[in-house]
Symmetry: C2
Subunit: 445 residues, 2 copies
């Protein structure tokens, strides 16, 4: 747990002895990111959707298409204009801007998002967005002529709070656009109207789709959102890929009965069956080697009264892993466990695959470039999967992809307590810059 | 499961070869109950609160103080007047009527209730109420002079749907009346106003309290509401007592976290802990000999989202048994299990006794009288506890008490599917009549 006091003391921790990045006062011929400017932008963005009367540490509510999202986007577009590059909106509402490079070369893309979950923190997406600003500004300032244009993206609507879909805008760019998508309604708002709110163009939404070859590569800096780097005290994570999620809807039907008059051996208790299945999911996810995870995050029982034996339970079960083969095996184990529990408890259990996606593997050449960049910066690295979804997952379908993770203190995310130290923010932006310059030296990865 | 078709065929099953009771066409010098009249009254009562357009098999909604309860009470009072006895209301709204006996003798009390749960059946309480009618009418018709007056009671508000308390009106009669009780509010209605609706007198509510010695004894016929008699194919249950309930509120605090980014071994998953505790309750209740039961009937988890590790779970746990010693041991085992699970899952678990009551033992003399009555009627009996609460539980505090159970088909109750065959209804009423006549021969039990 991070108290307000410890949050502030961590955020204000003194700079390390040998910083791999330069503060504003430092000057150098080599391109460097400006850690103070990065922090300043993160702090200014945090006011868009800040709880009334709160501070930076009180987090943010900047759900996609909200007023806070609109004012933040307007401010971000102004900031881009201040960099002397031209912002461009696509039909899905994604913001792009590119700088330099030879005209016949595909751009190296960097970026992230600025929308948040309803009670979110001030690092998720925001860091990768402003680190992309730093990459362009560092190259501008050092007057380096890159072979490839450097392009930045601020993806619209990454979080899964609206229309039930995460990475909604980068998903369109990668070509995932279904008939009727624009007519879906969330919170009383049609998706086409939502996209109009952020100055997108739902009537020509297909123009947002970009093909393979559009970009040389895509690199996204992001906070880890888990505690692996923080626990290991390693500043840079090289993402191996973004896990796939297999989500199951489980319905258990027993028999409602009087909790006083029904002997234990005559019960068909849906809650007991749900409990056994929950422990089953935990055991299935932990009994094998690997970093797969399994979660029962939602349960509803009926009638949910202290003196009535539950007759029905519905649960959400999800498994995540980089390997589809592992995910299939976990799903098979879940179904087998469900069948055994049904028999043992006198209930019926149906296990249905509700949604599934494919893992997005990070391109090995981009991973290698991140590794070289971190090594040049004198920073230790660790390879790890991303358990959360990211825009990079979508762009991986059309371009070589890589992700850089920096530590989340205590592994906390999607919470006002989400925290990455300013030093780690700057280290991450520095590695992103170095990675882009590494990638620029190669025709393809 | 009982379909409409099977319900009707069971309800219309032909009479047994040797009925222990007489249908209306039969005539006898010995007192007998009138099975057709009993059925007729149950069917007529069922129209008060019947779902619109429904039939007897569609059950009833006759919650205490509802319009259906009011019209049913008015009709029941009319029926009592038709028996040529004088109905009397006490300040709590209980309806009494007495017949015969010597003036210096305490009355033998019989009766039950006519209010229902929101989607209830047509036997719970109703059967015992009209069986009491039959006892008086049989004695009247046979022109028997009993030593003790025979008194019948229709208890107001037995079900726990109003003001969160069951057996609310008989509870007052037994002396359980707290300051402020009349000011409690349920469903926008003060309890004093609720009692006024049924023609009680909340301003003199204490006049409803009756002391020890008021009644010679109390006998209540009721459907079992469990499946023990039905499974054993035994028509008469002799209740040993009404179990006590120890109810616990359990709060489990873990840590909310991202279901994708948090490795299995770093989780503090409140749902996993709740599942382990639920199986623990089941095991604690079943691992020892006896008829104790344990139930987790209610669970709420937060935030209850498929992709978030639950950070908090609240559960209701209840144990029921005739022995307070057993209940204490079950509670101790629950607390110990909670502590072990908390340690194993990295959560904190608090287990608090939320409510408790004392078991109400049936008086051995009344049990014996029921046994002799059933034997005389040629009916097999079984002794069993009552897992559900009853008015008899309250009256046991001030008078020798006994209860007669008849089978519930499939053990189903508090449901439109609640069913006791007409033959079993008549058998129960017959045993009630015989029991009253047995008790009448004794000065005290």
């Amino acid at each position: 747990m991070i108290t307000r006091r410890s949050f502030l003391s961590m955020a204000g921790a003194s700079a390390l002895a040998r910083p791999a990045f330069a503060f504003r006062s430092a000057q150098s011929a080599a391109p460097t990111i400006d850690a103070a400017r990065l922090r300043n932008r993160l702090e200014r963005l945090s006011t868009h959707g800040r709880p009334f009367g709160g501070t930076f540490a009180d987090g943010v509510n900047r759900v996609a298409y909200s007023v806070a999202d609109l004012t933040a986007r307007a401010w971000v577009i102004d900031e881009i204009k201040g960099m002397d590059v031209v912002p461009r909106l696509d039909a899905a509402g994604n913001i792009f801007a590119r700088f330099g490079g030879q005209p016949n070369q595909p751009a190296i893309l960097v970026g992230s998002h600025i929308d948040s979950v309803p009670t979110g923190g001030n690092f998720d997406g925001d860091l990768g967005t402003f680190a992309a600003f730093e990459v362009i500004q560092a190259i501008q300032k050092a007057k380096i002529q890159t072979r490839h244009p450097i392009e930045m993206a601020v993806w619209a609507h990454e979080e899964s709070t609206a229309f039930g879909i995460g990475t909604a805008a980068s998903r369109i760019v990668a070509g995932d656009l279904q008939a009727g998508d624009m007519d879906k309604v969330w919170n009383g708002m049609k998706r086409s109207d939502a996209i109009r709110r952020i100055a997108g163009n739902p009537d020509q939404i297909e123009t947002a789709i970009r093909g393979k070859g559009t970009w040389h590569s895509y690199v996204e800096l992001h906070i880890e959102q888990g505690g692996t780097l923080d626990q290991a005290r390693i500043p840079i994570g090289i993402v191996e890929g973004i896990v796939a999620i297999h989500r199951y809807d489980v319905v258990i039907v027993g028999q409602v009965n009087h909790a006083g008059t029904t002997p234990m051996n005559e019960r068909h208790d849906a809650m007991v069956a749900a409990a056994a299945l929950t422990l089953g999911v935990n055991e299935i996810a932990t009994r094998r080697q690997g970093r797969q995870v399994g979660t029962v995050g939602r349960i509803e029982i009926e009638p949910n009264s202290p003196n009535v034996i539950p007759g029905r339970a519905t649960l959400s079960v999800e498994f995540r892993d980089l390997s589809e083969q592992v995910l299939r095996e976990l799903g098979d184990a879940l179904k087998a466990r469900g069948a055994a529990i049904a028999q043992g408890t006198g209930t019926t259990i149906t296990v249905e695959l509700a949604s599934t996606n494919v893992p997005a593997m990070a391109t090995s050449g981009v991973q290698a470039a991140i590794g070289r960049a971190a090594e040049a910066a004198g920073l230790k690295t660790m390879r790890l999967p991303s358990g959360a979804g990211h825009d990079a997952q979508q762009i991986a379908k059309i371009a070589p992809m890589g992700m850089i993770f920096v530590p989340s203190v205590g592994g906390i995310s999607h919470s006002p307590k989400e925290l990455t130290t300013w030093e780690d923010c700057a280290r991450g932006a520095d590695v992103l810059l170095r990675t882009v310059l590494e990638l620029d030296q190669r025709d393809s990865v």
